[in-house]
Point group: C2
Chain length 102, copies 2
DNA sequence: ATTATATATGAAAACGTGTTCATATGTTGA
DNA sequence: TCAACATATGAACACGTTTTCATATATAAT
């Protein structure tokens, strides 16, 4: 599987955004359906400002989608690829495999 | 799907490591089978030292496995979860979807 | 209009990571 | 043992990101 330099950079950027614990926690909360910003603040324990900053990044990278409903804004995982990626990574980390050499 | 704080940190760490263009390029080259360090240097265009530093991180995080064969050391993707994760992410980035709101 | 609630944003502080350079270690063959 | 090749490592530099604080915008209700 051969990737262009631009593809590589875009994919790396998406992984990088998933690679912060606070952002990943936000993303995981959004996997099963839309969640309001307020609920994300409660569930992750991060500050409102921090959650909002991270949501902007996740949305800009098309990892999450947003829709406003009255005073609230609901965020959800962009597509099934995102759900699968996180799911597979959870499975990977669960494996007690060896890392080779010594 | 509910994750512990430690699980979240470990998974984020794995994503973070995939989130650098040089490291991702190295990883992608290792998806189809074992590749020597020298070949990785050639194929990625990165310096020998840099490739080696990154390989150490990828191996420590159980993203790649290593086996020595004579003078060479061959690196390969750790398991199918890793291959699937990268594959799904490539599919995700290929999608021309909307990011919601304005 | 004013107040209350929900979310977003800019700037600065606090912190971490990628890369290079020089050098060390490991392996093979003469 | 010496030379030649392959890979690994430590220290330092250069740069970027996460987080907080204060404040702004948006929506709804009285």
């Amino acid at each position: 599987m051969k990737l262009s330099k631009d593809q590589t950079i875009e994919i790396a950027e998406t992984f990088r955004l998933m690679g912060d614990p606070t952002r990943l926690a936000i993303l995981v909360e959004c996997l099963d359906g839309p969640v309001s910003v307020g609920d994300l603040v409660t569930r992750t324990g991060a500050s409102q400002s921090l959650v909002s900053h991270h949501l902007r990044l996740l949305r800009a990278a098309r990892i999450l989608t947003a829709r406003r409903e009255g005073k609230n804004v609901y965020y959800a995982a962009m597509d099934d690829h995102i759900r699968t990626v996180v799911g597979d990574m959870i499975d990977h980390v669960a494996e007690p495999a060896d890392e080779g050499l010594g």
